[in-house]
Symmetry: C2
Subunit: 135 residues, 2 copies
């Protein structure tokens, strides 16, 4: 006997005030945000949203492809999606995060993945160092 279970998920998510606030915050800057930073920024703006809602909202927005996630130093950060793909360079002294894109690095990653028989789905490249100001 074969049992097939369909799990029907809504195709579109409800854009509530909370979700809108989080999305607007992220889309309104080039920064990388973690849940804590979002919570603090919204509070300063008199929009207090429960931290649980923030976590749930970030998952939902990421799954919907409306924001991008990067893990930086064991912590998930989110940024707006309307930038072309890029990787990150983090200053270990001041925390500054810079973005870069290098087509050759991208290409070589695909090459090496193929060589290992991997079907590449994504990557995370973070360069650590000292920025110009902190050297």
């Amino acid at each position: 006997m074969i049992i097939i279970i369909f799990i029907i998920r809504p195709m579109s998510l409800r854009m509530t005030p909370q979700r809108h606030a989080v999305l607007t915050l992220i889309n309104g800057s080039a920064r990388h945000w973690d849940a804590e930073a979002i919570s603090r920024a919204l509070q300063k703006n008199d929009q207090r949203i429960g931290i649980a809602t923030i976590y749930r909202t970030l998952s939902v927005l990421e799954e919907a492809g409306l924001i991008a996630a990067v893990v930086i130093g064991q912590r998930k950060h989110y940024e707006r999606i309307d930038k072309p793909h890029h990787d990150h360079m983090v200053c270990e002294a001041c925390g500054r995060i810079e973005e870069f894109f290098h087509q050759d690095i991208e290409t070589l990653q695909h090459d090496i993945a193929k060589r290992h028989g991997f079907c590449i789905q994504g990557h995370s490249l973070v360069i650590f160092g000292l920025c110009r100001q902190c050297q």
Copy 2:
């Protein structure tokens, strides 16, 4: 008035049974271990070490340059140091971790860091995808 404080740190660390057990475990396999996995593996081997000691030991061993650390998916993993530098490829289905090294990728990272005025100190490159078996 200028006060100079010298903090004298021991140059060598004491190789206690606990530290030896952790080091032996890591050096005895090609795996990547997190604190939990180490704790479980040692228990199976009738060597129970307090989890706090494991965390402290891992820091100490890493600082001493006896093991290497990699952050994979928000969690710090440790592996033996006696391998040449490499990056990682993680199968999102089965968790398999493969290693690779690509000199051109290394070189290009240095190029791009220099171009941004960054003094590069390290990097973390993890490729996500599906391994041959899981496709």
